[in-house]
Structure formats: C-alpha cells, structure tokens
C-alpha cells in the first residue's frame, strides 16, 4: 500500500519534471528560432486573428459580467460601511490588477490553447508534422513561433480591452442602480488607478500568453494514440495551462508585493 503510494508519487514527480523540462526545451528553441530568418508575417497575422479578434465576443461577455458582479458585491459590503464612494476605486483596481488579466488568460487558455493542442495533435497523428520535417521545414519554427508570438502580443491587448469593458460594467451598475454620478465614477476610477497597476496587470499577461502557447504546443506535439490521444492531450493542455497560469500569477503578485510595494 505504502509502496504503491510512493511509486505513484514518484511517477507523478517524474512526469512533472519531464513535462517542465519539455516545456523549457520547446520554449528555448522557439525563442531562438524567433530571431532566426526567414521571417514570415502571414502565419503570424493569421494567428493574431485567431487569438485576438476571434476571442473578442467571449472576452467582452465575461469581462462585462465580471465588472457587474464585482460592483454589486462590493456595493453590498460598502453600503454596510456607508462608504459607497470606494466602489469605483475597488472595482477599477481589482479589475486592472488582477481580474482582467487572469480571466482573459483563462478564457484564452480554454478557447485558443485547447484549439492549438487539438490542431497540432491531429497533425501529429496524421504524420503531418513528420511531413513538415521531410520538407525541411522546422515544425517549431513553422508552427510554434507564430502561435507563441501571437499569444504573447494579443493577450495583453485583449486584457486591456477586458479591463475597459469590466470597468464599464461596474460603471453601468453604479450609475443606474447606486446613484453615483457618472462624472464622479470616472473621476474616482482614473484618480485611483496608477500606472503601476496597469503595468503589472499587463506585464504578467505576456507570460500567461507564453505559458498557453508552450503548454498547448507541447501537448500537441506529444500526442500518442489517435483521436483518443488528441482528446486526452487537449484536456491536459487546458488543465496544465490553468495550473501554471494561477501558480505564476501567485508568484508574480507576491514578488511585486514584497519587492516593489
């Protein structure tokens, strides 16, 4: 029993190191190949469209609802303290520093990351990745680099957009239901928000984008066993991206809290 448990733990630890090792190797190769000619803009633009433009509807919807919910929940607490004036600043700071980035990253991990794993995974099981190699095209350069660049550039932009929509959601509630004037709300929002809030919020999404790109490509490249394998890899890709994003976010937040308060 104990032996079994230890064996199981050992196996899990080994596969964890194998996974992180593989991700690091893929990331290093992709970084290197990004700066190696030839440069092709067409696949990059195509990926930007898939990551950015196509995610706009769902990101808008989620960010809007989060803004509304956040305003209502904050109002509930602030009304008890009699300090409704703080709602605007709490909504703004929470969204820009934390909720905007993390919600956008999770939505994109579920939407785009899963699609990337499924696509590369089916290419893998139908030998298209082998075929790329026989045509002297490096699969990392050809497939990973445009996705990684698109994700790490589009995710910050999407987040910026989500921040704006979220704050708009909060504004809608405060102005219509809580009788705070529109001018007051915007004034407080822009007065409380510091450049630092925006910067730390957006900076980490660059890394979230890289996490999504490398995890999803890695899982796609390592699919084993047909359609079932593609399904399994897609699930792993989403779960692992979620875990890594949250863990990195925690680390990043703690780092900035203690080092640059």
């Amino acid at each position: 029993m104990i032996k079994k448990a230890i064996l199981f733990l050992g196996k899990k630890t080994a596969s964890f190191f194998y996974f992180t090792g593989g991700i690091n190797k893929l990331a290093l190769e992709a970084f290197y190949l990004t700066f190696k000619p030839p440069f092709k803009e067409k696949p990059f633009i195509e990926q930007c469209r898939k990551v950015g433009v196509d995610s706009l509807p769902i990101v808008s919807m989620v960010a809007f609802f989060i803004g509304v919910i956040l305003a209502l929940q904050t109002a509930y607490q602030m009304q008890r303290l009699g300090s409704e004036m703080y709602i605007a600043s709490i909504v703004a700071v929470s969204i820009v520093r934390e909720l905007g980035p993390i919600i956008t990253a999770l939505v994109v991990a579920g939407r785009v990351g899963a699609a990337i794993t499924a696509e590369l995974g089916s290419m893998n099981v139908t030998e298209q990745i082998d075929a790329l190699e026989t045509l002297a095209a490096n699969p990392v350069k050809y497939l990973v680099v445009p996705r990684f660049l698109a994700l790490s550039i589009m995710l910050p932009l999407l987040t910026l957009y989500a921040d704006a929509i979220g704050i708009f959601g909060g504004w809608l509630i405060c102005v219509n239901k809580l009788s705070i004037s529109s001018g007051m709300y915007t004034h407080i929002t822009f007065n409380t928000l510091l450049f630092k809030d925006l910067f730390t919020g957006l900076a980490k999404t660059v890394f979230f984008g890289m996490i999504i790109a490398f995890v999803s490509c890695y899982e796609g490249f390592n699919v084993q066993g047909g359609a079932e394998g593609v399904g399994r890899a897609t699930r792993h890709s989403v779960v692992n991206s979620f875990i890594l994003i949250i863990a990195f976010d925690c680390f990043f937040t703690a780092f900035f809290y203690f080092i640059f308060p």
């Binding site: 139908t126 082998d130 002297a136 490096n138």
Partner: protein, 255 residues
C-alpha cells in the same frame, strides 16, 4: 556506389523489437522494393532514412554521409534532395492542394507565383490530376490524396524518393500509371527510390532489386526474377499470398 546504406540498424518501441540488425544497400539510380507483411516495420524503415526516427544501434548513410551525426542544417539540405510519400498521404489540411504540392517551392525558392503554379500543375499532371489546386485535402477522395502526396514528393525533382505504398487505395488503371511514373523517373532522371508495397505486380514492374522484410531483418534480396523463383519458403508464401506456410506457422507458435 550506394546512394542509401543502412548498417546493422536496430529499433524497438518499448519492448517490441521492430528492426533487428538490419542491413540494406541501395545503388545510385536504382529502385529497391521492400515487401513484407503488415506491421513488419516497412514504414519504420523508411522513416529512419528520412531521419524521422533514430535507431538504437547501427548507422545510416545517404549519399555517402552519415545522417545520424549530421547537424540540422546539413540534414535539411539533404532533405531538400529527398522526397517522401507517406502511407496516409500526410497532406497539410490547413493548406490547399496547390500549396501542399508547391510547399518547398513557396518556402525556399525565389520563383514567382505563376511559375510555382505552373510547376505544381505539371507535377499534378504527372499523377493524372489537374485543375484541383484550389481544393483543400478534405475535399479529395482517398486515392486522390495519395496522388497529391506523390505530386508533392516529386515537385522539387529530388534525387531520392521514398514511397510508402504508392499504389494502395487507387484504382488499377491509376496504379499502373503510378508504376509507369516511378519507372519513368528511374529511367529518365536516374532517381534513386525505395518503394514499400504489398502489390507484387507493381513490385515486379518497377523493381531493380526486391527485398523481403521479416522479423526485423531482410531475409531475402534479389532481382525480381530471383525473388519470383526464390527457394525461400517465407518468400514463396508471401509472393503467392498463401494462407498456409512458414510465416503463419511462426505466428501460431508465438500465440
């Protein structure tokens, strides 16, 4: 002089030994046909020559150079001179037929769009297709996909072509046209080829040498006549497609 040489190659997947101390020589400008039962490792053998799989032991030489110790850049320039037809076609389904066939030309050559279009059309004509450049692979039948894969492999005029069952899944008339095509590339352009096939009629027609793969080794090798009249009971059972014989006895014994 050997264009392709495999020396004592061994390859296993987990505990399953697929290639076992296999040695193979293919002369420059000749066509070598590999026959063998389903699952005996023919596709695995081809993938070793393209450098897609690495053996546990042994050495592989292509055009006199060892590919196992070759830097990536050299491997890529070697691959530009090789073409491979995958068993399942392996067409890129995010690209059109034209972009598939002209992949190397689009990526690496400085030809104009029209020139590439012309070269692609030429290759497609050779495999009996035309006017399908704008279609995507999902709009093609299985046999058409196979032929587009063939067109992609020959589009860059390679010196070496590896065919994995080029005539499987196409009608007999097209199959014979593909045999003629392989024969023609051999006669006119002195292309070195390895062809994996189950189709003995095609094998006799195109081969300079035929080798039979069995339990990880080449158990017989010779000219088409030698193979046809081989005294080897394994070869005899295979080429005549008999249900009874030493191959099936081996399977019964291991069960």
């Amino acid at each position: 002089m050997d264009m392709i040489e495999l020396r004592n190659i061994s390859k296993s997947f987990e505990s399953h030994k697929v290639l076992d101390d296999l040695t193979l020589h293919v002369k420059r400008g000749s066509t070598f046909v590999v026959i063998g039962r389903s699952g005996c490792g023919k596709s695995v053998l081809l993938k070793h020559i393209e450098g897609l799989l690495k053996p546990e032991a042994g050495e592989i030489f292509v055009d006199g150079k060892s590919i196992l110790s070759m830097p990536d850049a050299d491997m890529n320039s070697l691959r530009m001179k090789m073409g491979m037809v995958f068993q399942g076609g392996a067409l890129f389904d995010s690209l059109t037929v034209g972009e598939n066939v002209g992949f190397s030309l689009i990526e690496y050559s400085s030809l104009t769009k029209d020139q590439i279009h012309g070269r692609v059309e030429e290759s497609l004509k050779l495999v009996g297709l035309s006017g399908i450049q704008e279609l995507t692979p999902s709009e093609l039948s299985g046999g058409m996909r196979k032929r587009v894969a063939l067109a992609r492999a020959i589009c860059t005029n390679p010196d070496i072509i590896l065919y994995d069952e080029p005539t499987t899944g196409v009608d007999p008339i097209t199959a014979d046209a593909i045999n003629d095509l392989i024969r023609g590339l051999h006669d006119k352009l002195r292309v070195t080829s390895i062809v994996v096939t189950h189709d003995m009629k095609s094998a006799y027609k195109i081969a300079d040498r035929i080798g039979m793969l069995y339990q990880g080794k080449l158990i017989a090798e010779g000219s088409p006549e030698e193979i046809q009249n081989s005294g080897n009971p394994f070869v005899h059972q295979f080429i005549n497609g008999l249900a009874q014989g030493p191959i099936t006895d081996d399977i019964k014994r291991t069960l």
